[in-house]
Subunit: 363 residues, 2 copies
DNA sequence: CTGAAAGCGCTAACAT
DNA sequence: ATGTTAGCGCTTTCAG
């Protein structure tokens, strides 16, 4: 089925294609009567201008690509929602490029990132947003970083919550260290002294930074840091369970509170604690990181550090839009995290009281 | 910055653009030596063919659009992951079109659907997948349905878990009625007789069908259906809480088990039950619907009906690919739901025993 | 095996 | 206010 073009409309309206184009784009005055006639024909034929042809000549597509590691991780849809919200108003459409980290093979994931980077360039997107994946690496290889730098020479790239060595990128990040401090100080303020840190990956900068915040707060409070109470190796619920099991199965002192590297691992930690017969928060305080929607919906509701996903997304979209419009804009935007107190943390004193109750009942 | 084109490569290689195109597409034999030369230049200049120009002439873009109501609802990312998995291998890229139902205004949402439908056509996507939104309506307006039908005349559309009146669409669905039966029979098999149905919207076909399954199973078991134990009005956690509160705050008999229209409302129901001092599943069995990843991670883990999101996505992508390739394929694909038993449901007898314990402890 | 030339559908000078 | 024409960057006959 032959699709209708500006020529078809022009012919039937007895005008030139230029005139049709003019009414299509409001790019020059057109006599009201002819404009009506053309509009009528457009309506009649359900004519829709071919965006490819238009973009080919205008050198802008109104498309932006977003590369992320796993759409199934609730953190990302949240950021995406922020992006869409902001970008929709500016007439952009999104290419979603999920590099599918869920299928473990990390090599394949980075490869897919490279692949998508190329595809997006070929498709002539106006800009690219990256989140997760290689930009989260504490030490990203020179080649992988350079690849992105090359892309960035040709079109605007903005990094969310990450960075790459060897070049300056536009990026919007959350102050992770501050988040770590916030979480730990909350626990300390509750009277806890025996605080563990659990989850994340030591190779990832977010984990390193959150851990740095934890360390900072502990030291500032004059509290000791036990290396065996710092356990990393994953961001999943499953990982959280494993770490907590480890913490609880060793003999000797146990922490009374846990800072988790993210909400998912916090949920795992809670599940494990409950399985071990502990009550959260009465016997054990647990704080997460991210504030995914789920955090407010688990039982008990998770106390956590909000990364302001929506704002992260909106800001990134805003910056990219400015970049595309060739407006100058700050290279770095830092958002401050926020403590969200819910039900999974409680004063240490509660423990003490409970313990006293317990002892007297055994009387 | 002038981007390099086939002409630049051709000139420098002392060949015609045709030859460059040929090595780019492997569309005709090229002398090994010239091929090497061209490949070298491509490498040297980091040349990337402009996909817009190519698509303009080939009339295919390798882009497919996916229209969904809310990426923030964990059900959709799951389906998306399935889509990506399948479509990536076939060289497709995705336009993500989130119509943002989260901003309540339902009218605006349908408008945005129409808008995206147009944008996608202008961008010349090879096909469109729709999920949620108007296609979930039990009675969608003629105009809104026709709009999609018109699109479907121009390019392949596949509907996931929905339908539209007045035209036959390719679609892949889950047998919702069977799901409702499955959930209810599970509860009945556990000895429950007083079973409520909670959540969803009466205007939506999925709710109607799940409810139909519930009714069917209840009748088949000879159990009475109480109209005041069927409460609809939302799919969110918040809605689930409200409905459960309603159920628990009325005097008189209470149900001992609840079929929820989806996992989110089931979680809300659990939270409310717990707040009311009930234990799940000991005092109250609750079953969800969807099997979002979260379902396995709440406490207690949710017994639910799996809608096989991943498979839904993969199948839809497969069908769309066939359609794009002009291969014939069944109009309707029905997937069977699956009962996933976890921790939120238990035999009624447990209740009875507990009750007995309680009474005897009261001396 | 390779080149010349005709478009794909649209926009944008440049004329009129 | 409107028409003519030259491309945007690529693929694809049709010749050779």
């Amino acid at each position: 089925m032959k699709s209708v073009t500006v020529y078809d409309i022009a012919r039937e309206a007895n005008v030139s294609v230029a005139t049709v184009s003019r009414v299509l784009n409001n790019t020059a005055p057109v006599k009201a009567s002819t404009r009506e006639r053309i509009l009528g024909l457009i309506q009649k034929h359900q004519f829709q201008p071919n965006a490819l042809a238009r973009s080919l000549i205008k050198k802008e597509t109104g498309m932006i690509g977003i590369i992320l590691p796993d759409i199934t991780n609730p953190f990302f849809p949240e950021v995406l929602a922020g992006l869409e919200q902001e970008a929709r108003n500016n007439g952009y459409t999104f290419f979603l490029c999920d590099t599918g980290s869920s299928n473990q093979d990390i090599k394949a994931q980075y490869q897919r990132e490279s692949q998508y980077l190329n595809i997006l360039m070929e498709k002539q997107v106006d800009g690219i947003i990256m989140i997760g994946g290689r930009i989260d690496l504490a030490r990203c290889s020179k080649e992988m970083a350079k690849e992105v730098a090359e892309v960035n020479k040709r079109l605007p790239v903005v990094l969310i919550n990450g960075n790459l060595p060897g070049a300056k990128f536009h990026r919007v990040i959350i102050d992770e260290v501050a988040g770590g401090v916030l979480a730990t100080e909350h626990l300390i303020g509750l009277g806890h002294k025996d605080i563990a840190f659990v989850g994340g990956y030591k190779q990832m900068s977010n984990t390193v930074q959150r851990l740095e915040g934890y360390t900072k707060a502990m030291q500032q409070a004059g509290l000791p840091i036990r290396e065996d109470w710092i356990i990393t190796g994953g961001f999943t619920v499953e990982a959280g369970k494993v770490f907590m099991n480890e913490l609880l199965s060793t003999e000797g002192a146990r922490p009374t509170a846990i800072v988790c590297a993210n909400d998912l691992s916090a949920i795992g930690a809670i599940k494990s604690a409950v399985k071990h017969g502990l009550r959260v928060p009465e016997d054990m305080s647990i704080i997460g990181f991210d504030d995914i929607p789920l955090a407010a919906n688990v039982i008990p509701e998770l106390t956590t550090i909000s990364l302001k996903c929506l704002e992260l997304g909106r800001t990134a979209a805003h910056i990219l839009h400015q970049l595309i419009g060739k407006n100058s804009i700050d290279t770095l935007t830092v958002l401050q995290p926020e403590l969200v107190v819910r039900e999974s943390t409680a004063p240490l004193s509660v423990n003490v009281i409970k313990m006293a109750d317990y002892l007297s009942s055994q009387g």
